[in-house]
Symmetry: C2
Subunit: 170 residues, 2 copies
């Protein structure tokens, strides 16, 4: 079970970045997305609509006390940061974890996050995007596959060489 | 040589997403990032600062006529879209291309893009993030490596188990 914790969300500035983090999380095998910072009903609603159309389960949850959230999590805790150790050397170990919390920072990450996490891992050593880093990390973690099992799917893409095709189940 | 073309940039709504696309492009081996839509000097300046500090070359360029840009590009043109064919089956062919243009859509992609591109490829069949899709695509394209060769590097991360360490060259 993979869960994401996105820290320090700001309603105006981060709405799309946090939303992209959640979409990446859902597409690449996470079952839940939690965020701290400012509470944002739009973020929750837009993700809820995605899961209703394209399938779930996928939960979005606001977390007031991120420290307690990390401390109380039963499983392995990985903080993605450009300052950490290269992630690729840790993937096989992480794959064995029953429960994994992937912590994604915001603009300023409090120093405690580095201490509370079991691992601080980097996806490349260059300034980067948390969305991109999360995508590559989850892609490797899931054995370079995309999540295929979704429940209550109402809409599906039918891959095409050119153009768009989706099917709807009413 | 890999170049990115981001379509339909909107100054207020897309600034961070386009900027994240460019950061991902730079970290994962692209030498240049072009965008169409609204001209945005902040986008250009912020990426310029990144390349000045962390190394280049990496160019950011505004494109007024995206159709001409795609048509005139000498090389293979790949459009990333959730509606396309799974990208993984095409990676080995694309690796052989001398010049590659990776086209990343905005909110509404004009139908011509599907026709002007040599390939329309999807990174997963789920609604997703263009930043995440671009990251996974470039990661596979570069043989699951990050770009290591940068010139005129002033700042570098020294990977740490906990905490942050960078070195500066003045």
């Amino acid at each position: 079970m993979i869960r994401i914790l996105r820290l320090g969300h700001r309603v105006f500035r981060d709405q799309r970045i946090s939303s992209h983090c959640a979409l990446v999380a859902r597409a690449l095998g996470a079952q839940g997305f939690a965020y701290s910072g400012q509470r944002d009903s739009n973020l929750k609603d837009s993700l809820k609509r995605v899961a209703e159309q394209w399938g779930g389960p996928f939960s979005v949850r606001y977390v007031k006390d991120w420290k307690r959230e990390i401390r109380n999590f039963k499983g392995m805790k990985v903080h993605l940061t450009v300052y950490g150790l290269p992630f690729q050397g840790h993937i096989s170990k992480l794959k064995k974890a029953r429960n994994l919390l992937v912590i994604v920072g915001g603009e300023k990450v409090p120093p405690e996050v580095y201490q509370l996490s079991d691992f601080n891992l980097s996806v490349g050593q260059q300034p980067h995007s948390e969305v991109g880093a999360l995508a590559v990390f989850l892609y490797e973690l899931s054995g370079r596959k995309f999540r295929e099992r979704f429940q209550k799917v109402k809409r599906k893409v039918i891959p095409q060489e050119r153009g768009k095709k989706t099917v709807k189940r009413s």
